[in-house]
C-alpha cells in the first residue's frame, strides 16, 4: 500500500513537472543547477530538535529559486530545484532509492505549489518591499501544507496514524519555514541582480549555526548520559530504588505537561527529578539497605543526603533555582505555599507517588488507588492540590498502572519487607518510625 502511494506521489510530481515544462520550457539552466546543489546542501544541514521538530534551511533556497526563476520558468524551475533537495547522500549511500524518490517528489510538489501561489500574485504585490515580504507568507504556508499532507498520508498508509494528528504535529514547522522563506526572498533578489556568489555567502552563518547547534545537542545528550550513569550508580547502592529516579522524572513530566509548563521548565524539572536523590551517594550502603529500624545516629546520617543534594544541585547554574526541591522544607506545600516553585511541588508529588507504589526495604508496594488516595488526603497540606490532580489525570489518560501487582522490577531480598505502613515521600516512613521509637 505504501509502495503504491509512493509511486502515486512520484507520478503526480512527474506529471506536474511535465505540465509546467510544457507551459514554460526551460531557458536558464545555470540557476537551476546552482540552486539545486545549494538546496540539496541545505537539506543536509537539517537538525532535529529535542522536541522532534526538524529545522531545515531547504525552503530558503526553494524560495530563492521561486524569485530568481519567476520570469523564465516560474513553476518548473523551482520544482526541479525541489527535486534536487530530496537527494541526500546518506540515503544514496544506504541505497534507499524509494526514500529518495519519495522525498524528491514531495519537495518538488511543495516547492512547485509555493511557486504557483507566488507566481499568481501580481508584480505590484511582489516587488515593492513591505508588500513583497507579505507575499512570501502564503507561499511558505503552501509549502508547509502540501509537504505535511503528503507525509501525513504516508503515515496513514504505513500505520493508520490519524492524518489530522500528523498535520497538527507538523504545525511548528511554520515557525521555522516563514523566516527562512523571507531570507530566501531577499537572497533571490540579490542572486537575480548580482549573481550566484552572493548566494553562497549566506551559507556561512547557516553552516555555522548548524555546526554549533549540533554540538549543543551532543553536549546536552552527554550531560543527560552523565546524570543517568550517576543515577544508576546511586541505584546500585540501594537495590530497592532501582528505576526510582527515572520514574519520578516521568511522573513529574506527566504533571508538568498537564500543567502546561514551558518546555525549558520541563527539561529543568527532568534533570532535577533525575538528581533529586543524588545526595544519597554519600550515605553508606549499609544504612540504605538496612532492613530494620535505623538508630537516631544512623537516621541523622541518612537525613544528611538532602543537604548534600541541595549543595550539589546548587552548583549547577540551571538547576540552582529549583535545587531546594530536594529538601523536604521547600517541597512541602504547607510550609512553602508561597515560596516554593511548581517544579518542586510536582517532583514532591511524583516522588511520593513512586515511593508508595514501589517496594522499599521497609515496606512492600501499595496499590495505585491507595497511593492516589493518600496523595489526595494530603493535598493542600503536604502536597500541591493542582499537582496531585494533574498526576491523577495524566495517569488515567496514559492508561498506566503502578503499585502492587504492577511492579516492573521484582527484586529478591534477604529480608522480605513487611506489608505494612502507608508511607509517604522518601523518608516519611522512617521518620515516623523513629518518632514512634
Amino acid at each position: 500500500m505504501l509502495r503504491s502511494y509512493t509511486l502515486a506521489i512520484v507520478a503526480l510530481a512527474g506529471a506536474a513537472l511535465t505540465l509546467a515544462l510544457v507551459q514554460h520550457p526551460l531557458t536558464r539552466v545555470m540557476p537551476i543547477l546552482v540552486l539545486g546543489i545549494l538546496a540539496s546542501a541545505s537539506e543536509h544541514q537539517r537538525v532535529r530538535l529535542p522536541n522532534g521538530v526538524v529545522v531545515s534551511p531547504g525552503f530558503m533556497v526553494g524560495m530563492t529559486a521561486i524569485v530568481v526563476l519567476r520570469s523564465s520558468s516560474p513553476i518548473a524551475g523551482p520544482m526541479l530545484v525541489g527535486l534536487m533537495m530530496g537527494v541526500h547522500i546518506h540515503d544514496l549511500v544506504r541505497g534507499r532509492r524509494a526514500w529518495i524518490l519519495f522525498n524528491a517528489a514531495t519537495f518538488a510538489l511543495g516547492t512547485g505549489a509555493a511557486a504557483l501561489v507566488f507566481s499568481a500574485m501580481p508584480e505590484r504585490l511582489v516587488e515593492p518591499l513591505p508588500l513583497g515580504i507579505a507575499a512570501v507568507i502564503p507561499a511558505a504556508l503552501t509549502v508547509v501544507f502540501v509537504e505535511s499532507v503528503v507525509v501525513a498520508l504516508s503515515y496513514w498508509f504505513e500505520s493508520r496514524t490519524s492524518v489530522l494528528r500528523s498535520l497538527v504535529g507538523a504545525a511548528p514547522a511554520i515557525a521555522q519555514v516563514v523566516p527562512f522563506a523571507l531570507v530566501g526572498l531577499f537572497l533571490g533578489r540579490l542572486y537575480r541582480d548580482l549573481g550566484w556568489p552572493v548566494a553562497l555567502m549566506l551559507f556561512v552563518p547557516v553552516l555555522l549555526m548548524r555546526g554549533v547547534f549540533t554540538s549543543y545537542l551532543e553536549l546536552r545528550a552527554t550531560n543527560e548520559a552523565t546524570m543517568q550513569v550517576l543515577v544508576r550508580a546511586l541505584e546500585s547502592k540501594d537495590a530497592y530504588t532501582a528505576g526510582h529516579a527515572e520514574r519520578v522524572a516521568i511522573y513529574a513530566r506527566y504533571i508538568g505537561e498537564e500543567l502546561h509548563l514551558m518546555p525549558w521548565r520541563l527539561d529543568r524539572m527532568r534533570a532535577a527529578a533525575l538528581m533529586h536523590d543524588i545526595g544519597k551517594l554519600v550515605v553508606p550502603n549499609q544504612l540504605l539497605n538496612k532492613p530494620g529500624r535505623l538508630t537516631a545516629n544512623e537516621f541523622a546520617v541518612v537525613r544528611r543526603h538532602e543537604r548534600v543534594s541541595v549543595a550539589m544541585l546548587s552548583h549547577i547554574d540551571f538547576l540552582r533555582p529549583i535545587a531546594p526541591v530536594v529538601s523536604g522544607d521547600h517541597s512541602h506545600f504547607g510550609a512553602a505555599r508561597n515560596s516554593g516553585s511548581m517544579e518542586a511541588f510536582a517532583i514532591a508529588v511524583a516522588d511520593a507517588y513512586d515511593a508508595m507504589t514501589s517496594t522499599r526495604s521497609y515496606r512492600r508496594a501499595l496499590p495505585q488507588a491507595v497511593a492516589l488516595e493518600e496523595l489526595r488526603n494530603k493535598a493542600g497540606t503536604q502536597f500541591h492540590p493542582g499537582c496531585v490532580e494533574a498526576l491523577a489525570r495524566a495517569i488515567t489518560r496514559h492508561g498506566v498502572r503502578h503499585g502492587a501487582g504492577y511492579e516492573n522490577d521484582c527484586e529478591s531480598w534477604l529480608v522480605a519487607p513487611p506489608y505494612a505502613g502507608l508511607g509517604s515521600a522518601g523518608l516519611g516512613d522512617l521518620a515516623e518510625g523513629l518518632e514512634r521509637a
Partner: protein
Amino acid sequence: MTLVWRRCALLALCGLLAAAAAAAIVPSSSTATLCLLGAGVAAGELMVLRVGDVCALRGTAPMVRRTNAELPLSFAVLIVLASSFDWRPAIATFVAAQVVVFPLRFEPRVRERVQRTLHHLVIGAIAFGTFHVVFAVFGQHERLSVLLGTLIVTVLAMVFVDAGIQGWLHQSGALGHRGRRAWSAISSSGMLMAIGERGVAGSCHLGVWGPMLFAIPLFAAWYSFERFDAATRAHQQTIEALAMAPEFAGLVAAGHADRVADLSVSIGRALGLGDVVLHRLATAARLHHLGAVTLDDPAFGGPLAPAATIAHVTADMLRGIAPLAGAGDIVARAGSRRSFTFLDARGNTAAMVLQHANAFDEAVSERRLSPAVAIEGLREAVGVVGPEEHLVIDALELVVIGTR
C-alpha cells in the same frame, strides 16, 4: 522573556520611535534608516557570541581559562554603517548607540563597561577608516567584486585589531576555534546586510529591509552559541558537583579533587600534553574517587576498599558515558601501575600524572608533609618502571617548588 530580550526590545522600540519621528521631520533623508541601524548596533552590543573558552576548570591552574572574550552582533551592523552611508552621520550613529547602550550593558563594573565601549569604538574607527580608504582607492567603478573585496579587507582589519585587543585584555586571543566561527558568522552576515542595504551600482538596493532580513541567520547562530555555551557550562558544573560527593561522604579531604585536578593539569602542561589529553586528565582527576561512594563504608561495618578497587569502579562508571570514557581509561591506568607497560605512552603519562598528583596531595594535605619531603618520598617509592615516571616527578617538582 530574558533580560537580554527585554533590553533589546526596549532599544528596538526606541529605534522605531526615533525613525518614525525622523521620517516625519525629514522624509527624504537617510536619518530614519540610521535611527533603525543605531538601534540595531545598541541591541547588537547586548547580544554577543562568547568566544572565550568556557569549559573552564576552577582553581589556580585551570586547564582552559575562562575569559570574557566575546564578539557582539553589533559588528555586523557596523559593517553596514561603514559601507553604506556618509562617514560623518554613520560615525555619529555608532557613537550615539554606544552611549545609549552604556547603562544597559551587562558588565557589573563601570570600568569594564568603559573598557568594552572603548574597545568597540576602536573597532568602529578601524571599520570606517579601512572601508573608506580602500573604497576611495579602488571603488571609482563600483562593481560587486570591488565592493566585496573592500568589505573583505575591512573585515580582516577588524578581525586583526580585535584579536590584538582581546589578547591584550584577556591574555588570550579571540581567534580560537570559537572565535573563528563567530567572526565568520558576523562577517558574512554583515557583508550580506551591507550589500542588501546599499545595493551595487544602483541595483538591488533593498534599503533597511536587507539588514533586517539577513540578520535572521545571525540570530540563529547567536541562539546556537548561547545554547552551546549553557550546555558546556552545565556539563562542567555537573562534573564538578559529582566530584563533591566523595568529599561530602568524608572519604577524601575537602578540596582534594580540585587540588589534584589543578596540579595534574599543571604537570600535564609542563610535560607538553595536548589539550584533549589535558581535558581528559582534568576530568579524571576530578572524579577519580567517585567510585568510593558506591562501595561499603568501613565506618559502618563494611570492608576497607583498596585504591585499585575504587579506581576500577570509578573507571567503569566513567566508561559508561562515551565522552568520559577517555577519563575512565586514565583512572583505570592510574589504579593499576603494572598495566603501564602494556599501554600507549600518552595514556601512561596522563595516568602517572594523576597518580603522583593524588599521592602528593594526600601527603601534603592529609599527612602534613612539606612539599619537598613529599616529593622525595615519591621519588623513593618509584620502582623500576621507566624514565617517564621520573620525568613526571621532575615536572611535579617544577610546578610545586618552581625549581628543578
